[in-house]
Symmetry: C2
Subunit: 110 residues, 2 copies
């Protein structure tokens, strides 16, 4: 995970419609949902939906698998975990932490 990738993923999730899509897929689990299923729930034009799915796909936040004429979308859980890790990573690395008056490394130095 690096800054550029993390930012692009955040940007993808920074649109309310895409965040809804993504959360639907997270909720749906490994079975995922077809694009058409998403469209029914979202009630937006399919071209708009396709546009958003492409963004999520490009950001590697979802995967797609064809099944006949329908296209199954799934959340990429691994990417989600990485992103979350990146956000919280190195919390207080350069300073004191909120919960502990002294950092572990500083305590070790004493």
């Amino acid at each position: 995970m690096n800054l550029e990738i993390a930012a692009s993923q955040m940007e993808s999730l920074g649109n309310p419609t895409r965040l809804r899509i993504y959360r639907m897929l997270v909720r749906a689990g490994i079975d995922g949902l077809p694009v058409g299923g998403l469209q029914q729930r979202l009630e937006i034009p399919s071209s708009t939906l396709s546009h958003h799915c492409k963004k999520l796909l490009d950001a590697n936040l979802i995967t797609q698998e064809r099944n006949g004429t329908t296209l199954i979308c799934r959340a990429n859980y691994r990417a989600m975990s990485s992103l979350i890790g990146y956000l919280a990573d190195e919390c207080c690395a350069d300073g004191r932490c909120e919960d502990t008056p002294t950092r572990a490394s500083e305590a070790a130095d004493t």
Copy 2:
């Protein structure tokens, strides 16, 4: 936490410069960093930096406290936790999960 707030926070973090700022503040811990300190490291015009800080502030991702002429910025750790929770929340609530062949609730039903 709701969708609109989460999306606006994601959007805020979806810009590389802002993500850098935010991570610097996360690393800095409770002591935070002055705007000027951020500017030295980022090497961007102060007007641009101010613009980004305002976005992060509006999204409730950072806080600011005046200390004389300098303005201390700090990451809002609570907001970060909420956001992370929102992302991972209700994973697989509507379907089977990746790791477990059957969900806990289904297993309980058996």
